[in-house]
Amino acid sequence: MNSAEQQDAKNGLQHTLANGNQPSAQDFADQQQYLTFLMQDEEYGIDILNVQEIRGWGNVSPIPNAPNYVSGVINLRGAIVPVIDLRMLFHLSDSNYDENTVVIVLKVSTEKVNRIMGIVVDAVSDVFSLLPADKQPPPSVNRNFSHDFIEGLTEVKGKMVILLDSERLLHLENNL
């Protein structure tokens, strides 16, 4: 990366850093990028490194006897990829599919989980950078099922964003 590009990247970082402070070089290395999406006017964020692609909703074949939040499977260039409806998983109101409905294809390969899966969301919104320090732990009160997927909370431009833990989201064995 040449210096001009680096400068640009830094500017970009400066622009999107949530707390508005000048980032240090260390911060620059530590920053994480998140893709945000909307579900029922709530904004959620997911680590962008786990996002493989974003595609429109369609051609989903149902899986027999799957929980209601598992929409089915799609053909992703020859691979069979399950799609879960995050709105159903989080017990949000009934989901209706429109032209904005998209499937975010997540790919996680860690020791525990190694799979590709799609999540259905209302709409994709933005990408922002975040320093670990700006991440707040999820509220510990009233823990329930959907809280388990929350990695933390943060604030971007005065609006709360719920950060999701993709690994736990894809660790189906726990959820099904």
Binding site: S61, N65, V73, I80, V81, L172
Partner: protein
């Protein structure tokens, strides 16, 4: 110009393993009384190729060992040295040993040479005129390791009284090395630790560090060497090998190497008195005289098995323990280095016959022609008319045919004859029957039946297990067989053949059969089956595959722990196969394994249910029919049964089973696909029957979890995903309905 030889290693290993298999097969077939020179030649050639290859790639350990083997084989070939049953045993052991060496090398580990050295010495002894029996018996007896350690620790009577009687001879068993590096040796970049490590590869070492010259910390110069070592090395190496280790530092240290001589019992030699007089001689033989084995008297069991009880003991006698330090480190030294068996590296390449490749090339050629023909038609005809369309259709038919043939051809590349699995069995049967004292012959047929490589890899373990079981529980002891009026020689027959789209492997033994009553009693005892439950003969046999159940009275190291048969069945079912058993008390049993030829492609029947397409494997469908409302009976509890030719079959509704739609559907007139799973017929209601086509099986589990009733998924021509129905899973989904129908059929009969 240098060539990176490591790129050829994989091929070398593969060829060597094939060579070993060849040797093994030939050895097992070899008629001792009338050896066929062609077979001996075959063994010789295989050994020779391994030797040549290992020499080329610098696997000295292998080539040296094979060289001795080859020398002996050469003598056998020339008729200079007759071979007998013990000799064959010896050669078989050397095949195992070579395999071990090669596996270690393949896994890039340091091979364990101990066994190779033992065998090499035995071969040398045989070359020098001993009989196979003398030598091989020495290799056979392996004292357990625990005892070894204990015996060494307890100064008691000699381990083998016979050895005492037979006399002893002085034998070089290693060296004592005093190694004092010069103070500035480290500055030259020489690391004594590296040399010690090198020494440790030659044999077993015991080191004592002399740190007495170490100055106090404040006056210590960090890169000076103040310490020296006293090393005792137990090895069969020559002094040159030891000297070589210190080659680079000869001028930078004080080094003295003296051979350790020890008493070793000797089999029937005439020097025993002379040797005995020396037996309590002083520590090291300062003359440096070396007795080079095995010229002269024959080495006996005890030295052949370094480190064995006797040698360390005599070593102890010759070297009284000098310090508590040595005492303390003695145990780890005596204990054998952990001999982790090298993990078997799964070969990921296959060898394909040139004819298969040729046919593939031909087909690709035809495909290209068809493609250009279609291309021409597409570009030449501006207007679409009857004639063009006719030609186009013809072209498409041709294309379809080409594609299908190409697919078959590509699949055939993955097909290997089942002899790859069968070939390792005769040796196993021979070894186990010897161990059990039974007389068993193995008959193989249909070895050339081909099946998919993946299937073959996975079926090999279950088959080995079934054969072990047959050997252990099936075939009786010779006396029992004789008393029952059967030939003493038991027979296990293995047969493989194609049937429909499957391969069937049949294993028949003429042993005692399976006592189903005892199975039942065991199952009752374990609480698997209630006291009052009555079972049919088939159900009793099914118990054979229940986990934790064994009919064996005794637990042997072969079988009898009750794990196994359930694993066998599970492995086979994972391959979409099935296993059946039939048995007759006193006559024997037959296991029949049925497997799909390939795991990648399936002939399927497409159906629709609630607007979704599903695929039934064609092999599981026995018939499809239109429901006659009069033949539907509704049972209490809501299950429907269909009366089909004196049998009541349960009617399953896929839409409800899979939760696709609710509500009552009229059964009369709708379509029923009758599938068969594990001997039970099930009728499945579908909306529509579509085409039959081959589908490529894709795993659902890769990215999702296992779904009951579905064995996988596939991608249809329109890009959509369709689930493939798993008959076995479906029947367990609808267990209640099936049980009800079965009861009805039984009652009717």
């Amino acid at each position: 110009m240098s060539i990176d030889l490591s790129q050829f290693h994989a091929v070398f290993f593969e060829e060597s393993f094939e060579g070993l298999e060849l040797m093994e097969a030939a050895l097992l077939e070899l008629d001792v009384d009338n050896p066929d020179s062609e077979q001996i030649n075959a063994i010789f050639r295989a050994a020779h190729s391994i030797k040549g290859g290992s020499g080329t790639f610098g696997f000295v350990q292998v080539s040296e060992f094979t060289h001795i083997l080859e020398t002996l084989l050469d003598k056998v070939r020339d008729g200079g040295h007759a071979i007998d049953a013990d000799g064959i045993e010896l050669f078989l052991q050397s095949v195992d040993c070579l395999r071990g060496l090669l596996e270690a090398l393949q896994a890039e580990q340091e091979p364990d040479l101990q066994r190779a050295n033992q065998l090499a010495r035995v071969f040398q002894a045989v070359l020098d005129g001993a009989t196979y029996a003398d030598s091989s018996s020495q290799v056979n007896t392996n004292p357990p390791q625990d005892n070894e350690i204990n015996e060494v620790l307890e100064p008691g009577p000699p381990a083998t009284p016979e050895a005492e009687n037979l006399g002893t001879v002085r034998q070089q068993i290693g060296f004592t090395i005093d190694f004092k590096p010069d103070t500035d040796m480290l500055k030259g970049g020489n690391d004594p630790v590296r040399m010690l490590r090198e020494l440790a590869t030659l044999g077993e070492i015991k080191t004592t560090l002399d740190a007495s010259e170490l100055p106090p910390l404040e006056s210590l110069v960090a890169d000076n060497c103040y310490v020296s070592w006293h090393i005792e090395l137990i090895t069969s190496c020559k002094i040159d090998d030891v000297e070589e280790v210190f080659e680079w530092v000869e001028d930078e240290c004080e080094l003295s190497i003296t051979p350790i001589m020890a008493d070793a019992p000797n089999v029937g030699n005439n020097q025993s008195e002379d040797a005995q007089s020396n037996s309590n001689a002083q520590a090291a033989d300062t003359t440096g005289q070396r007795l080079v084995m095995p010229s002269g008297p024959l080495p006996s069991l005890d030295e052949l098995q370094l480190p064995s009880p006797a040698v360390p003991k005599s070593f102890e006698a010759a070297h009284p323990i000098e310090s508590p330090v040595q005492e303390a480190i003695k145990i780890p030294v005596e204990a054998k280095p952990a001999k982790a068996k090298p993990a078997k590296v799964e070969s990921s390449s296959i060898r394909v016959g040139i004819d298969k490749v040729d046919s593939l090339i031909n087909l690709v050629g035809e495909l290209v022609i068809t493609q250009s023909m279609l291309g021409q038609m597409g570009s030449a005809s501006d207007s679409i008319n009857e004639e063009n369309i006719g030609h186009l259709r013809e072209g498409l038919v041709q294309l379809e045919q080409n594609t299908r043939e190409l697919q078959d051809s590509v699949m055939r590349i993955r097909m290997l004859p089942i002899s790859f699995t069968f070939n390792r069995l005769p040796r196993m049967v021979r070894d186990i029957s010897l161990q059990l004292g039974k007389q068993v012959q193995l008959e193989l047929s249909g070895e050339n039946t081909e099946l998919d490589k993946t299937v073959m890899e996975k079926i090999s373990d279950p088959m080995v297990h079934l054969i072990r079981n047959a050997l252990d529980h099936g075939i009786e002891m010779p006396e029992v067989r004789k008393a029952a009026g059967k030939p003493e020689l038991g027979t296990i027959a293995l047969n493989a053949f194609h049937q429909g789209g499957s391969i069937v492997i049949e294993m028949t033994d003429d042993g005692g059969g399976i006592d189903t009553e005892r199975l039942l009693a065991k199952a009752r005892g374990n609480g698997l089956i209630g006291e009052s439950e009555l079972l049919t003969q088939d159900q009793k046999l099914e118990l054979l595959f229940a986990p934790g159940l064994s009919t064996s009275e005794q637990v042997s190291d072969l079988s009898g722990r009750g794990v196994g048969m359930d694993v066998v069945r599970r492995n086979i079912q994972e391959l979409n196969g099935s296993v059946e058993v039939s048995t007759e008390i006193g006559k024997g049993s037959t296991f029949r394994i049925r497997l799909p030829l390939t795991l990648a492609i399936l002939d399927g029947q497409l159906v629709t249910v609630a607007d979704q397409t599903y695929i039934f494997p064609l092999v599981s469908i026995s018939e499809s029919l239109q429901i006659d409302g009069a033949k539907v009976n509704n049972l209490a509890g809501g299950s429907d049964v269909y009366s089909l030719r004196e049998e009541y079959i349960p009617i399953l509704r896929l839409d409800r089973l899979f939760g696709l739609r609710q509500g009552e559907a009229v059964l009369d007139g709708s379509l029923l696909v009758v599938i068969e799973s594990e001997g039970q017929k099930i009728g499945v209601v579908v909306d529509e029957l579509l085409a039959q086509q081959q589908v490529v099986i894709k795993s659902l589990e890769d990215n999702y979890i296992r779904v009951l009733g579905v064995s996988g998924a596939t991608i249809l021509g329109d890009g959509n995903v369709a689930m493939i129905i798993d008959a076995v899973g479906l029947s367990s989904l609808a267990g209640k309905d099936i049980a009800a129908a079965k009861k009805l059929t039984d009652a009717a009969a």
